[in-house]
């Protein structure tokens, strides 16, 4: 009641003002999430004049002002405020400013620049965040992601300047693996890959995503393992008002849908991405000893494995997905509020690829064909995700929130390779059946407290507990050789074998930080501890021929391994390696201190230092393999990391940034363990190297950025990185191409990054619905292996996976009055090393792929939206090449999908 009175009073006042001048600022204030208007919210001029107005019942406002430059604050109760600086008002014109505000997790404080966090889902919010940030960063929000066909974080991140995705690895500025880390709400994400490099980005469906941010310069509050950048994933927050949403999608792919593809006889729950137990280790398998053919139970155990070895073909189904979410905020007096968001998503898709592959020898500069084969691959991918976000605001100064996220991804696949094997001088066909399931459970409790008389002390804390799990039950490998018309089972490694593995990583930690003013300085200090435990356990079994009649080896697998033959002619034998079990422990304790100061009115400097104490411990040794367990590894390193960031406001709309830091890249558990393990995927052995030391990296950045309007941007930047002791994988044995790790002599990476976003209304008012965005990165890197070259062919080469150029272009046409939005996206990367060559064979490069996607969004009614997408419209092929010869080629095909989005409330 009081507020209404106040509003009427002010309306009256502004009314008087309006009568006098016909210039000023006007616009509309909306909820960033829902697009709903925000009513009765203050819009305050904080510099340049004394003026104040509140939005009307449509969220609109008009602030009459004389010509000049103004800073204006937009705010609303339960929303995070935004300051727009340097708004120019020209004679006789109203400057338009439409602002979307994000529901709060923090609360309002008397800070001049940003209040809490800016709404980062929207494009304008992200740009504002970038403009105000202390570090060089690039980002995309859910608003942009929704304009693309991208379905998860792994798909979407490639739209960010100089980010690429190779397989499941994200590469930032051409640097992948250990050089690109991923954090969720500020906490490092554990890997689901036994070697520990890949962050499972595909476990983040975009229904749960708010923002992807790539931090490109280091600052002291970030983790010190920093090189190419840090990909930050922010999950969705709760909405301010009751909101429900249901999304249903259906899609087709030209390679898989209704097409014949490889599959195999699985379990009854496969359609849910769950194994019904049919792939489990048979109960009869001894759990106290290795299985030998002399075991009294050998026959019974051997018959316990499911007798499915071969693939068959079936028609692929259309892809589908469903996601639902509900959220709301309940408010009480005194700023007390409780918000929640719950969402769940499920999707299923079939994939099929048919690739032509060959391997080569080299004689002088000529490649001579060796193995020539075709790969037919069929898979069903199932994803399930759920998120709960609860926030409780105690009062305007204190809030806590809880995030619980669960995601599961299953890839059930069958692959058939067939062709000529030179090693065996015979035709071959090899089948691999594999069911791989990865789980992530991430839980975090965090809080913010504004202390002191004016809330100038900001205390933030968080505690997290996460679990990842990667399971591969019953991966089956089978190979036959055919010579002179006789096709026989090949008894060898990778044939007649079954592999069962589980990887579990549990990680818990906490951090606390405090921001406080100290004289003219803004100080930030904090500490964190993160402990994780990682266990890998696998067992392998091989079916070996113990009979007398080799004619049995010519039977199809299911007949060969029938109960009739298992026992007298075939028995399963344990093939578990000593290194098939390991237990790792890792701890990271860190502390940091940084100071931010305005050196001059326009120059801000942030100086900080971080100290990290990092410990890795690894014990390995499977009880199902005999022999001497490898020595355990225990190593602690202490790394200090300085950081300097300078921001010079060239104008109110343009910044010049410079940054320097000295960071670290550490080896993974198994890279420093003095043992050999088998990489079943690439069929080669990998040796750890106990002499490896952490790499240190000098990072230097320079960037100029200009924000002409809140949705426009032009930025030019460059970076230089010098690696000391970079850790490189090198080929150490010529026979199978086994690999090891070395600290190379050195590496350098230098790059140029350009980005622009503009509205074409600059060109002509008629083009105002058109917006264009583009980014381009040019990167040059070189690693010098020196004496650690071993038998790798190149002594000096680009870093593996680094593209010399990466470009993105997107054009959006938005016709608000029709509720229509069309976006065209283009992405390309330059050729990059996919496999390092050895023993004179040249490096293999993945060739550029031009990818064009199109999306159309149409509002059908107040609560119904339709989105149509088409991906890879140019139907480009993925090609790997050695010298000028294709070694692997396939077509991923075109994908088309339709999605209906229903928001009844």
């Amino acid at each position: 009641m009081r507020r209404i009175t106040f509003l009427m009073l002010l309306a009256a006042l502004s009314g008087t003002a309006q009568a006098q001048v016909s210039a000023g600022i006007r616009g509309r204030l909306t909820d960033a999430k829902t697009g709903e208007p925000l009513l009765v919210c203050p819009v305050t001029v904080i510099a340049g004049a004394e003026a104040f107005v509140e939005t009307d019942l449509e969220g609109k406002f008009a602030l009459p002002l004389p010509p000049g430059t103004y800073d204006v604050r937009f705010w609303c109760d339960q929303y995070e405020g935004v300051d727009a600086k340097g708004l120019r008002v020209a004679e006789g014109l109203f400057t338009e400013r439409n602002i979307a505000l994000k529901p709060v997790e923090g609360s309002f404080a008397e800070e001049l620049v940003v209040i809490g966090t800016v709404d980062t889902k929207s494009e304008s919010g992200l740009l504002l965040q970038r403009k105000l940030a202390n570090t060089v960063q690039d980002a995309i929000g859910s608003e942009q992601i929704s304009r693309s066909p991208d379905s998860n974080a792994g798909d979407a991140v490639k739209r960010v300047t100089s980010a690429t995705v190779v397989g499941r690895n994200v590469f930032l500025r051409g640097l992948g693996g250990r050089y690109a880390s991923t954090v969720v709400n500020g906490v490092a994400l554990p890997s689901t890959d036994p070697d520990g490099h890949q962050a499972p980005l595909d476990l983040f469906p975009n229904a749960l995503l708010s923002t992807l941010t790539v931090q490109k310069t280091f600052s002291a509050e970030m983790g010190g393992a920093f090189a190419g950048g840090v990909l930050g994933i922010e999950t969705n927050a709760y909405p301010a008002t009751l909101q429900t949403q249901v999304k249903l999608s259906l899609g087709v792919n030209t390679q898989s849908t209704f097409r014949s593809r490889r599959t195999y006889e699985g379990g009854s729950l496969d359609f849910l991405g769950m194994d019904d137990g049919s792939r489990g280790l048979p109960d009869s398998v001894p759990s106290d000893r290795a299985l030998s053919t002399r075991d009294p139970q050998a026959e019974q155990v051997s018959e316990g494995f499911s007798n499915v070895w071969s693939s068959r073909t079936s028609r692929g189904l259309p892809n589908g997905g469903l996601s639902v979410s509900v959220g709301n905020t309940h408010q009480w007096g005194g700023g007390r509020a409780l918000g929640y968001l719950a969402s769940a998503t499920f999707s299923r898709s079939d994939a099929a690829t048919a690739a032509d592959a060959q391997t080569f020898r080299i004689s002088d500069e000529d490649l001579i064909p060796k193995d020539i084969y075709r790969s037919e691959y069929g898979a069903t991918n199932t994803n399930l995700g759920a998120l709960l976000n609860l926030g409780y605001q105690v009062d305007t100064r204190n809030d806590v929130s809880l995030l619980a996220l669960f995601s599961r991804s299953t890839e059930d696949s069958a692959q058939l390779l067939s062709g000529f094997s030179d090693t065996d001088s015979a035709n071959f066909d090899a089948t691999r059946l594999k069911f791989a399931q990865r789980l992530l459970s991430f839980n975090q409790l965090r809080g913010t407290h504004r202390l002191g008389a004016d809330g100038a002390f900001v205390l933030r804390w968080q505690g997290n507990l996460s679990m990842t799990q990667s399971e591969e039950p019953d991966t089956r490998d089978l190979m036959y050789l055919e010579n002179d018309g006789v096709r026989r089972f090949r008894q060898a490694a990778n044939s007649g074998e079954r592999f069962f593995s589980t990887l579990r990583d549990t990680s818990g930690g906490a951090s606390v930080s405090l921001r406080f003013p100290l004289g003219r300085l803004e100080m930030h200090a904090g500490g964190s501890a993160q402990l994780s435990q990682r266990g890998f356990d696998a067992r392998r079994f091989a079916f070996i021929f113990v009979g007398d009649d080799p004619a049995l080896l010519g039977l199809p697998a299911e007949e060969m391994f029938s109960t009739e033959n298992v026992g007298p002619a075939f028995l399963a034998e344990e093939r578990t390696f000593l290194t098939d079990r390991y237990d790792g422990f890792q701890s990271l304790y860190a502390g940091f201190l940084s100071a931010e100061a305005s050196v001059t009115e326009r120059l801000r400097a942030i100086v900080g230092a971080r100290l990290e104490v990092f410990t890795q411990r690894l014990d390995s040794g499977s009880p199902f393999a005999q022999g001497q367990a490898p020595a355990s590894t225990d190593r602690t390193t202490v790394d200090p990391m300085p950081a300097l960031n300078l921001i010079y406001a060239v104008t109110d709309k343009a910044n010049l940034r410079a940054g320097y830091s000295f960071t670290v890249a550490r080896p993974q558990f198994r890279e420093i363990a003095p043992f050999l393990y088998y990489d079943a995927l690439r069929r080669r052995s990998v040796s750890g190297n106990p002499d490896l030391v952490s790499s240190r990296i000098h990072n230097a950045d320079l960037r100029w950025e200009w924000f002409p309007t809140e949705k426009e941007l032009l930025s030019v930047g460059g970076f230089y990185k010098r690696f000391i002791d970079p850790i490189e994988q090198v080929v150490v044995s010529s026979i199978q191409g086994d690999v090891g790790y070395r600290n190379a002599v050195g590496a350098n990476a230098v790059g140029l990054e350009l980005e622009g976003r503009a509205s074409l209304s600059r060109v002509s008012e008629a083009l105002s619905p058109l917006r264009v965005g583009a980014n381009l990165s040019l990167i040059y890197s070189r690693v010098n292996l020196g004496s650690s070259q071993q038998i790798s062919t190149s002594e000096s080469r680009p870093l593996q996976g680094q593209s010399p150029y990466v470009a993105n272009l997107n054009v959006t046409y938005a016709q608000d009055s029709w509720g229509t939005e069309v976006t065209l996206l283009y992405n390309v990367f330059g050729r990059r090393i996919s496999e390092v060559g050895f023993n004179r064979l040249p490096d293999t490069y993945e060739q550029p792929l031009h990818r064009v996607d199109l999306t159309l969004t149409q509002k059908l009614s107040k609560d119904l939206r339709l989105k149509l997408t088409g991906s890879n419209l140019l139907n480009q092929s993925t090609v790997l090449r050695q010298l000028d010869t294709d070694v692997f080629r396939y077509r991923p095909g075109l994908t088309a999908a339709a999605q209906v989005e229903w928001s009844p409330l």
């Binding site: 080299i362 290194t579 393990y677 038998i791």
Partner: protein, 450 residues
Amino acid sequence: MKSVRSWACAGALAVLAACGGDDDNGNTIQGDTCAPGQASCEITQDITSDTTWTQEHTYVLKANVFVKNATLTIEPGTVIQGGVNTSLAITSTARIDAQGTAAEPIVFTSVVPEGSRQAGNWGGLVLLGKAPINVQGGVDNIEGYPESEETQYGGTDAAHDCGTLKYVRIEFAGFRLGGNNELNGLTVGGCGTKTTVDYVQVHRGLDDGVEMFGGTANLKHVVITLPDDDGLDWDQGWTGKGQFIIVQQNRLLGNHGIEADNSASSPNATPRSNPTLWNMTLIGSNRDKGSAAQTQGGAILRVGSAGSISNAIFAYFNDFSLDVAGPDSIAQANAGALTVKHTTFWSSKVSYDATSFAVKSSSDGSDFNEWMKFGPEAEATNSVVDPKLSKGLYVAPSSSNPKPVPGFKPEAALTGGTPPADGFFDASATFRGAVGDVNWLDGWTAFPES
């Protein structure tokens, strides 16, 4: 003797905790101990100082044992046993001096009790040296071990001495060390001309019998019986010599008698594999074509290997006799750098001709035909006649013949060429096959089933 004292001293140290440290060995006593009178001594650690193993003890390998910067001397009659995940590797900074006698051979065997032993019970014996190999950079790492300086082999010392193996038997070896790599019974990587391998038997190995990775080491009096894969395998530019070599293939599983490569990835890399081999007997399992678990041939010479084989017998191979595969070895054969002379080929199942003599591989890429090159019509010193060597075929034990012993002297009289008198070859061996009038296998070889 110094090292015997060192072992004895180490034993005493363990037992009595008293041992003078002032003697001439000067080494810090470390590693495994083996007390006098102790029947079985476990070897769990690398050997880093000169050491002698005596026949008084049975040495049980408990790990992958590397000998570094030291000489391992093994006395006649000594038995060394290995289990799962164990092997013995003589690194390029070390030597082995294992000289048995025909009466008292040195035996490397499985720790599993007799009767239950199988191929692959333990790893095998690995000799590494610094003689040239043809991989890029000249240095490679032997597979199957975590790579380190100790696993390296190859270099520029063509005369490198890996040591001496004489009257040595290696049985039931070939365990998969890691990954998909099965160790050979005897692996010789980059060993040089000063190395001696003479009177060595590899019996029932899971992978190849003997594999030569480059180097210049010579082989003499080598018996490879019942390997699960190839008999003699060479690769990476082996340029040594060999005389009196026997391969008896496995009944069901065996692959080829000889598998020869120059370099899998660059077939014309140098030094090119180019051994000179005289007096070989290669015996297959005499089954019908296509009826064993693997394709079985006398020799497959591939990817750029050159070499010369003389005074050999290729008999009873199931699928083919001699195959030169791939354009690069074919080029060597056409240039006269890959020769087979004074050799007798025989199969009791097929009569050799242009199609049955060799296999046609899709990678051959030319009209090359082995029969037209090595058959008796093209090479007059070669013949297709029955060597009457069926006693060399594998026979399963039976109640009437519980411990069958093969015989490798052909009953047919087959005169061959004269080996060069260069100090290595026995120039008097003008017969075909590895065994003439003197049965040099007597006494020290053994053919246990399990």
